[in-house]
């Protein structure tokens, strides 16, 4: 924001001395990439992994108390629930990251 003073890092546990804004933005971006990488690994695992590649192997197990074979459940139900959860986790953690690095939007 032009004209506003750079606010100090909000979190005392922030890596020591992110001296400049550019440095702080760089660290923020790296954290962001790490989070996205973890979430996309899960995304890949539940859909392409459990829902397509390992689906036949998983089908030997059943979810107790239901008629679902595990692979079938991942392919038609479980992966979808996981997708919703993944975005939910992303929203919460990114908003927290924004605040931690002092880049959250006002208002």
């Amino acid at each position: 924001m032009p004209g506003s003073d750079p606010p100090p890092p909000h979190d005392p546990g922030l890596p020591a001395g992110p001296s400049s804004n550019a440095e702080r933005h760089r660290l923020y971006w790296r954290q962001n990439l790490r989070l996205v990488a973890v979430l996309l690994t899960i995304w890949f695992g539940v859909s392409y992994g459990c829902g397509i590649l390992w689906v036949d192997w998983l089908d030997q197990f059943r979810i107790p108390g239901t008629g679902f074979k595990l692979g079938f459940w991942f392919a038609q139900q479980g992966s979808l629930y996981t997708f919703v959860l993944l975005i939910g986790v992303y929203v919460v953690l990114m908003n927290r990251l924004d605040r931690r690095y002092g880049v959250e939007e006002e208002g």
Binding site: M1, S4, D5, P6, P7, N21, R24, H25, Y28, W29, N32, V36, L39, L40, W43, S47, Y48, G51, I52, L53, V55, D56, D59, I63, T66, G67, F68, K69, F72, W73, A75, Q76, Q77, S79, L80, Y81, F83, V84, L86, I87, G88, Y90, V91, M94, N95, D98, G102, V103, E104, E105, E106, G107
Partner: protein, 594 residues
């Protein structure tokens, strides 16, 4: 003559409910008519994230999701999951990789981003062409869907149905722009989700005793005492008749993998979905919108496989092996509109359902009125297959209320839901076409001195022309439209998705790389599809496909080519100028400090 009264009762309810929903949409359009360019393009960035999530869900779920998807899954069995995962998993990509950054970038359209990020009007024009091509193929299918719903439920001529749809969309898209579209889409989401869930819940109770269809799918099959689960029952029925078991794989792993990937990346790259994220105020609202959108979509998408399994169980237990006099009423009703047909090839008086086509082409009925209590006589040439039953997959959703013996107004509601799904998607696509032409082609490229007012007029004009073209394509669907709609995803995946992704995550990506990547990706994908669909359709079988990948999944390979070409070309050409590299830094952070 009771049945005539019953049918006119259904029609009356359908007219009333469809009429009410249309007045609601027009009312919203009048209330939210726009006066400024920013309101017309992006609803003035004032949309709340929950409302935007609902609008995105309606925008995204088309006539195909509402009417056809469950039926396709019920034929495909477990393989049908590529629609489910493909069309929802793309939102994860959209939420994590694109939406927040495009919101930070601001502006109005996808070509806006491509043009600015790749500092080139050629890139912008390539993006405009891709956006308009993808949107037109898609919108023609929606208008056709509107016409079909009208003709099936109200027995109005398809062409009149399309015309009514055009007038409605014209009203709120041209008057209200993005603002009108957003709030009508919120209303349309409510209509369509209620219309989808109500019959699904009742059928779930009928077949499994579970209120939630998502649990019913894994529940016990109660009509026969509940000792066997629904899915085991279905596997058994399928096997008995010579079909592959419902919960097993039929297609190749590589093909399913690639189709899923093409649908996911295509979803993330479709311009009418992306522009919805420009309508919220902040980056954090864009993230939240994606969550709400997927949550609202998942309600329908986790129900669809249940509807698919219920409908197939119903078909195999109440129609297969029965004499015409024992067949349920819904079958007789939909036989009238040609969505189901029976040809007693072996003359045993019973319906035999097996794999394969029962006869060539779509059902062609003898025009002389059938004898009451007798099936309609077919004039088609029978095939050698023992199968006698023709089933249009759409029937699985359309006949649901009758299968569940729900009151007539629910049938009217399903009609209104199908129309809501088609109209909401059509409106979103028309807006993409009009903004691409008015903003990106005219204002940014050809006539930079145009005033904001002139641009708004141009946008309304472009929207009007696009409505008319879409309607004409709906009334006279050229053969290629129906074929190409399914491929819009592959084309979007192989063109936009890599260009936008690299634009955000790879600072070094330059104009030359992006343009050559987009052109390579879309040309390769379009050529592969054209070859197998139009030039040499006889060769369209697994052994002729590249790596066993069908034309539906080839967009994934096109996308990979796009990435590789873009990367290689960018390494051998000059890096983007410093101000572009700064732009990339700028969109990566929600708010710069200092």
């Amino acid at each position: 003559m009771d049945w005539i009264l019953a049918i006119s009762g259904v029609k009356l309810w359908t007219f009333i409910i469809v009429g009410l929903s249309f007045s609601l949409y027009i009312g919203i359009a009048v209330w939210s008519r726009t006066s400024s360019r920013s309101e017309f393009y992006v609803a003035g960035n004032h949309v709340h994230s929950v409302a935007n999530g609902m609008a995105t869900a309606a925008d995204w779920m088309s006539a195909a999701s509402f009417i056809s998807m469950a039926g396709l899954i019920s034929v495909l069995g477990r393989d049908g999951s590529y629609y489910l995962m493909g069309w929802t998993g793309g939102f994860v990509l959209l939420a994590l990789l694109l939406a927040p950054y495009l919101r930070k970038f601001g502006k109005f359209t996808v070509p806006d981003f491509v043009g600015a990020r790749y500092y080139s009007n050629s890139a912008r024009v390539v993006a405009v062409l891709c956006a308009v091509f993808v949107s037109f193929t898609y919108v023609a299918g929606q208008m056709r869907g509107v016409g079909l719903v009208f003709s099936r439920f109200l027995e109005i001529d398809v062409n009149w149905g399309v015309a009514v749809g055009m007038v409605i969309v014209f009203f709120y898209a041209v008057l209200g722009g993005m603002k009108g579209i957003t709030y009508t889409q919120v209303a349309q989401y409510c209509v369509l989700i209620f219309a989808y869930m109500a019959p699904a819940i009742f059928i779930s109770i009928m077949l499994t005793g579970n209120v939630l269809p998502q649990f019913g799918l894994g529940g016990a099959f109660t009509p026969e005492g509940g000792s066997v689960t629904l899915l085991d029952k279905l596997d058994g029925l399928n096997t008995e008749l010579g079909f592959a078991p419902y919960t097993s794989r039929v297609k190749g792993v590589a093909d399913v993998f690639c189709i899923t990937l093409a649908l996911m990346a295509g979803t993330a790259g479709l311009p009418h979905v992306i522009i919805r994220f420009y309508t919220v105020r902040r980056v954090r609202d864009a993230r939240a919108s994606a969550f709400w959108a997927l949550l609202f979509i998942a309600i329908l998408y986790t129900t669809a496989p249940a509807v698919a399994a219920f409908a197939r169980t119903n078909l195999l237990t109440t129609v297969q092996g029965k004499a015409y006099s024992e067949i349920p009423n819904w079958f007789l009703k939909w036989e009238q509109s040609g969505l189901v047909a029976w040809m007693d090839k072996n003359g045993d008086g019973r319906v035999d359902y097996h794999p394969g086509e029962p006869f060539l082409d779509k059902p062609a009925f003898d025009p002389t009125p059938p004898i009451p209590g007798q099936p309609r006589v077919l004039l088609n040439t029978p095939t050698a297959s023992p199968n006698e039953l023709y089933v249009d997959p759409d029937i699985m959703v359309l006949a649901n209320p009758e299968i569940a013996r729900l009151p007539n107004w629910v049938i009217g509601l399903v009609a209104a839901g199908g129309l809501a799904a088609a109209l909401s998607t059509a409106a979103g696509l028309l807006l993409v076409i009009s903004t691409s032409i008015a903003h990106d082609l005219l204002k940014q490229t050809l006539m930079p001195r145009m005033t904001e007012k002139g641009e708004l007029t141009a946008a309304r004009l472009a929207a009007s022309v696009a409505v008319v073209i879409a309607g004409v394509l709906g009334i006279y669907p050229p053969g290629w439209v129906a074929q190409v709609v399914a491929f819009a995803f592959g084309l979007a995946a192989s063109s936009f998705f890599p260009a936008i992704l690299l634009g955000i995550f790879y600072r070094r990506m330059n104009r030359e790389g992006a343009i050559s990547g987009m052109i390579t990706g879309i040309t390769f994908t379009a050529a592969y599809i054209c070859y197998f669909k139009f030039i040499n359709p006889a060769a369209n079988t697994a052994e002729h496909w590249l790596f066993g990948i069908s034309p539906e999944g080839i967009g994934s390979v096109g996308m990979a080519l796009n990435f590789v070409v873009a990367f290689v070309v960018s390494r051998f050409t000059a890096p983007p100028p410093p101000h572009i590299q700064q732009l990339v830094e700028h969109i990566r952070v929600p708010r710069e400090t200092g």
